[in-house]
């Protein structure tokens, strides 16, 4: 009972009775949100429909919500006929879980430290970190660095370079700075070390932002393929899901250089039984589905909210 009331309080309505203003706002709100759902759901449903539709028939276009000629062939091609998929799934999952959690931990430590106003290096390290968002040495120098460090074809190259993301740190730091200073003061008076404060006070209170950053980082790791291409392209044991999926896009995509003049020298043309559209859409569905299942788990932390009475200093 108490929990339910606590949860209900979280919107700004308080626990007064409904007024006319409340009702009006609710109605407008609900309608607007439903409209939003319609336009944001559409691309995904459309993608789903194309992915289950026969590839040659898809060329005709005109598929909106449902497939016209249902087939599992597109998925079959990607999941069943591709021997590298199981390795790819494992590596991508490892990146997301292992890399994700380590990165969140690192972010938390750095964010906490940068939130301490009396930290001696704060004024130096904060811009030091932030500026990294706006410049890059370039693809070649980074590549040479990674090679010199021996990280080519090494799983660590997926984890180490991006371990501390400036953006994530800033978001987390902003949240931590919003936490009541009094708790930390009280803990310090009690003689707690910084580690203790971090783990026993900051960590439980920051669950919403930690859940958010976990989501960002894990999704980033799950969707990454460019680093695979750069650093692990010749190592089949380190392939990732998105990289395998990217491989399947034929050269008729926007990026791959395609000398159409040279193509004319090559003789007979053959129609593709699996067109780029059908591969792209099946790819999207395969990559997104695990995220859809993980997100509700993280969502709990957003709704849970602040439980002030929970942790006594």
């Amino acid at each position: 009972m108490a929990k339910k009331t606590q949860v209900r309080i979280l919107s700004s309505i308080g626990y007064k009775r409904l007024t006319a203003e409340d009702l009006l706002i609710d109605v407008i709100n609900y309608i607007a949100l439903i409209l939003l759902c319609v336009i944001t759901l559409y691309p995904f449903i459309n993608t789903l429909a194309y992915s289950f539709n026969n590839a040659i028939d898809s060329v005709n276009g005109g598929i909106y919500l449902f497939p016209r000629e249902f087939t599992l062939r597109n998925y079959e091609k990607i999941l069943v006929e591709n021997p590298a998929i199981s390795t790819a799934l494992f590596i991508s999952a490892s990146r997301a879980i292992v890399g994700g959690s380590l990165s969140v931990f690192a972010t938390l430590c750095v964010a906490y430290l940068l939130s301490r106003r009396n930290f001696v290096f704060r004024k130096v390290l904060t811009p030091f970190l932030i500026f990294t968002m706006y410049f890059s040495g370039g693809l070649i120098p980074s590549f040479i660095l990674i090679r010199n460090l021996g990280l080519i074809n090494n799983f660590l190259v997926y984890i180490l370079p991006g371990l501390v993301g400036a953006y994530n740190v800033m978001v987390m730091r902003s949240y931590i700075e919003g936490l009541p200073e009094s708790l930390i003061e009280a803990a310090k008076i009690d003689g707690a070390s910084e580690y203790r404060i971090l783990f026993t006070i900051i960590w439980p209170l920051s669950l919403p932002v930690i859940a958010t950053i976990t989501l960002f980082v894990a999704v980033g790791q799950w969707n990454a393929w460019f680093d695979t291409m750069l650093y692990c392209g010749s190592s089949p044991k380190l392939t990732t899901l998105q990289y395998e999926l990217q491989k399947l896009l034929t050269s008729a995509s926007a990026y791959a250089s395609n000398d159409s003049d040279a193509m004319m020298n090559s003789g007979e043309a053959v129609a593709n039984a699996v067109t780029p559209t059908s591969i792209r859409t099946a790819m999207t569905v395969i990559a997104v589905t695990p995220i859809l299942f993980t997100y509700p788990f993280l969502q709990k932390f957003f709704i849970r909210g602040l439980t002030l009475g929970g942790v006594k200093g």
């Binding site: 700004s12 001696v120 968002m133 370039g138 910084e194």
Partner: protein, 322 residues
């Protein structure tokens, strides 16, 4: 701001000592903190700052075969070439217009969505809407742009059908066929694709709002709308400010994939942004020096912008991000 504002108090006394021996004492006192942060900062130094030596390529005529040590030094020739190229100047203008519009619409939409979701009382509905609203984030731009083209088609696109049937316009509007619409197409399609995802941060921040504040406000007689402006928004001001300052630094970055895919022969004068320019004239031709030079220009502007916006932010309420 407001009476019901942020509860964090901001100390005004100087904390970091100026004298040298006090400084050393402070370092020793805070050694736990320093040890904790050191390895991570070392990683940042190695992976982000070390590659900067590659910037020297911008002052060379880099030939992949000869490497950096073997390539000829040309001073600022690359920079001069960029600034005397009409296409480049034009691309700067396009980038700025696109970015400003993207950032503005992005912010307003994400915050509005977060506020709206925050006002929903049914947990099930809230979760459902949240999940659905971020789905487009995962659909790649290639797929998304195809949908945009179809929706905006003058012949049978849904947007034009609605506009003409409702009588708002007489003839279908060729959104993708004229440069003047381009910036809005980019901004609004960006909103559609990212609003759900961007709202997540604000929602997380909103869960940190002390419910007592709402109680106090409603006891004082504030209506629903008033409570939003008096409690919800001020409490996430810190988050908004951080994200705004960080995003202003990205003004020169209008995004490559989305813009490239949305460009076509008809709107090319508007759709040639800096990233597309670099792709066409530097990357595709293997002119790495040229690309690096433009990249340095971008980074310099970005860092200058962020320092300016931070300064302004401090002037407003004494609190900047660094």
């Amino acid at each position: 701001m407001s009476v019901y504002g942020n509860k964090a108090d901001i100390p005004t006394t100087r904390i970091i000592p100026k004298k040298k021996k006090d400084l050393i004492k402070t370092i020793i006192d805070q050694r736990q903190l320093i040890i904790l942060i050191l390895p991570f900062m070392a990683l940042v130094l190695v992976f982000n700052y070390l590659p900067i030596w590659g910037w020297i390529m911008a002052f060379q005529h880099y030939v992949p075969g000869k490497g950096i040590s073997g390539s000829q030094f040309v001073g600022i020739a690359n920079f001069i070439e960029a600034f005397t190229d009409d296409n480049f100047i034009n691309s700067i203008k396009n980038t700025l217009l696109t970015s400003i519009l993207k950032i503005t619409t992005g912010f307003l939409s994400a915050i509005t969505l977060a506020v709206m979701l925050n006002e929903v009382r049914s947990i099930a509905f809230k979760r459902t809407v949240q999940t659905i609203s971020y789905l487009p984030y995962f659909v790649s731009w290639v797929v998304a742009v195809n949908i945009v083209y179809m929706a905006l088609s003058p012949a049978d696109g849904i947007v034009n059908i609605l506009l003409t049937k409702s009588g708002l316009v007489k003839d279908p509007v060729p959104f993708m066929g004229e440069p003047k619409y381009f910036y809005w197409v980019v901004a609004l399609s960006n909103v559609w694709k990212n609003v759900g995802w961007n709202a997540i941060i604000y929602l997380a921040a909103m869960t940190g709002i002390d419910p007592e504040l709402y109680e106090a406000a409603s006891i004082d007689g504030a209506g629903r709308l008033r409570r939003i402006f008096a409690v919800t928004l001020p409490c996430i001001t810190a988050t908004i400010k951080i994200l705004l300052v960080l995003n202003i630094g990205n003004l020169m970055n209008a995004g490559f994939e989305q813009v490239y895919l949305l460009s076509n022969p008809s709107n090319i004068s508007a759709s040639r942004t800096i990233d597309v320019y670099i792709y066409t004239y530097a990357l595709r031709s293997g002119r790495l020096s040229y690309g690096t030079a433009i990249g340095i220009f971008n980074s310099t502007i970005a860092i200058t912008l962020i320092m300016i916006s931070n300064y302004i932010s401090k002037k407003i309420d004494g609190y900047g991000i660094f």
